[in-house]
């Protein structure tokens, strides 16, 4: 292959040219080590978020208030497991094993979306999580469908289709609550109040503060900046809140005719960093839950491989005897 004759600088130039001309980078293509690392960080964080995200909603499957809602919620949480699987597989194309990724999650070296460190307390939270958390995730993921790494981009296209069902199920929950009894409407308002700001924080720090943004934009791993994506979400959510007849949690939100978008209040970044740094209600619980399930499953995984080995040994023995 011609690649072996090229210097690092020449390879990097070819790589960047591919990116600039909107070609996808595929697993076997040459890529800078920092690009690979950056992708592993972002994709595995995304995979972990899907898997850890099963917990707050899993917490309400057994309490869902109707059989229909129970079925829909269970399907949704199951999809998240499926998304985790696609994303782990896509990350493995970068030459790292799922077991290494999971070990990094459990040691705290790898992150997951900080939103899942907030506790799910009421049925209304199932609505708010689906509507706002999945809604914010979709805004980001729609943009990531055009990401430069092929397996990630294709995974996102598939995931986006299911995510829009997730967001709708959340919004349907909110609609039922908002038009329900006064207690139900109060439940919806309370969940909106608690999840609105954390959902805005999901887009990450302001562009001026974001550690990974510049390089990720140049490599087209990220296609739009944190603040641009957040603005889209703010703009799409405002009329949805109005439709529900709920109060907007941001008292400073006003429509700016000139810009054609909303001006909004400032996010409490102290809270953002406090939760990221471990002070959320559920940070420790989420990881401990994951570790516990993983450890309790160890004997099952061992049994599986022992059985597989015995089976192939028996086949060898039978073939030899025959």
């Amino acid at each position: 292959m011609a690649e072996y004759n090229k210097s690092e600088a020449e390879l990097e130039a070819v790589f960047q040219q591919k990116i600039d001309s909107e070609q996808k980078i595929e697993p076997k293509d040459w890529m800078p080590e920092a690009y690979r690392k950056n992708l592993i960080r972002q994709m595995s964080q995304h995979a972990h978020s899907e898997v850890i995200g099963m917990q707050p909603e899993g917490n309400f499957i057994t309490r869902a208030p109707s059989l229909r809602r129970k079925t829909v919620l269970l399907s949704k949480v199951q999809d998240e497991g499926g998304h985790g699987l696609y994303l782990y597989s896509a990350t493995e194309t970068l030459g790292i094993a799922r077991s290494e990724l999971i070990a990094a999650l459990q040691s705290g070296e790898a992150k997951y979306a900080s939103i899942f460190n907030y506790p799910a307390q009421t049925w209304g939270d199932m609505g708010a999580i689906g509507w706002l958390v999945d809604g914010a995730a979709i805004v980001n993921q729609v943009s990531l469908q055009r990401t430069s790494y092929g397996p990630y981009s294709r995974g996102m296209i598939r995931i986006c289709k299911e995510e829009s069902f997730h967001q709708r199920q959340g919004y349907v929950i909110m609609m039922e609550l908002a038009k329900g009894t006064p207690e139900q409407k109060q439940m919806a308002q309370d969940s909106l109040n608690r999840f609105y700001w954390p959902a805005l924080m999901m887009f990450g720090p302001h562009d001026s503060e974001s550690a990974h943004s510049a390089k990720s934009m140049k490599w087209k791993i990220k296609r739009e900046t944190n603040d641009d994506l957040r603005q889209k979400f703010i703009d799409q959510t405002a009329p949805q809140i109005a439709y529900l007849g709920l109060e907007h949690p941001d008292k400073d939100l006003v429509w700016n005719e000139e810009k054609g978008q909303h001006d909004s209040g400032e996010i409490d970044w102290e809270e953002f960093y406090a939760v990221i740094n471990g002070n959320g209600h559920s940070n420790r619980q989420r990881i401990q839950h994951h570790v516990k399930a993983h450890e309790e499953g160890a004997w099952v995984r061992d049994a599986m491989s022992a059985y597989k080995q015995k089976k192939s040994q028996r086949k060898i023995n039978a073939d030899t005897a025959a």
Binding site: M54, A64, R68, K70, G81, E176, T181, H289, G297, Y307
Partner: protein
């Protein structure tokens, strides 16, 4: 199955569909407790699937019970949720096997093997019911049940014939669960009336096939079929283990906290 359904009391049909719904909802709920706790993510997804199948069966049985009930009483407010959320422990009539706690993965696997093989034979017979709705539900559920059986068999073989620890856990689970299987093959008066009318399955006839199939799987998995002389009964009469009350408490809490609310 000779006589016609014309002689069958609609209350009997409601009660029968309800208890079949109870079996499905209770086991479906138990399986859903595994989500995010399975040994690896593929299993979270797979157990979720099986759980969803059972929830689907429960909804079909309960919806049918609700329709017949509304028709009988000239009402329109009885729904599938009335049965799942607004009845107490003593009113649930699921077989005890379904309500036993989640246990470890071996316990869940062992229970599921016994339930799934039972359902396979049960649904094959229910497909022949001269109640058209029950027959149609059975037709749909039966396909899923065959898949459940394959899955439970595969897991029983892996765990029984895996490591010494998995073998030991499976044997302990089978021993702890086996006593709850006997009532699966017994009829009370309600079911006897419906069997006579060609509506219900005569589950006394299923035992031989069930025992033959589970014995073959258990033995292939290098496990031992437990002693036959321990038997616990009472599910169909609402005489439950202490596990069910906690399950219902959790399942019904939100629904009951907001009487009359829609979700």
């Amino acid at each position: 199955m000779t006589s016609s359904t014309e002689t069958v009391s609609t209350q009997d049909i409601i009660d029968y569909a309800t208890r079949l719904g109870d079996d499905a909802i209770v086991i479906g709920h138990r399986l859903s407790e595994w989500v995010s706790k399975a040994p690896f993510i593929e299993e979270d997804v797979a157990i979720g699937n099986v759980s969803l199948d059972f929830l689907g069966h429960a909804r079909m049985y309960y919806t049918y019970a609700a329709e017949v009930s509304n028709k009988q009483n000239g009402t329109d407010d009885v729904t599938e949720d009335t049965f799942a959320y607004l009845r107490d422990e003593r009113q649930f009539q699921n077989h005890l096997l379904h309500e036993l706690h989640k246990g470890d993965f071996a316990y869940t696997t062992a229970r599921q093997l016994l339930v799934d093989v039972y359902n396979k034979y049960f649904l094959e017979q229910l497909e022949k019911s001269n109640d058209a709705t029950l027959a149609a539900i059975a037709m749909k559920a039966s396909k899923e049940s065959k898949y459940h059986c394959r899955r439970s068999k595969d897991w029983t073989l892996r765990l029984g014939d895996g490591t010494s620890e998995s073998h030991e856990r499976m044997q302990v689970a089978l021993n702890d669960i086996w006593g709850y299987t006997h009532e699966l093959f017994e009829l009370d008066e309600l079911e006897q009336r419906l069997v006579d009318a060609g509506v219900a399955v005569d589950c006394t006839t299923l035992k031989a096939d069930w025992l033959k199939e589970v014995t073959a799987i258990i033995e292939e998995a290098t496990l031992t079929v437990p002693d036959q002389d321990w038997a616990v009964r009472g599910g169909r009469q609402g005489y439950h283990t202490e596990h069910l009350g906690h399950l219902l408490t959790e399942m019904q809490f939100v629904h009951r906290s907001f009487p009359g609310a829609k979700w």
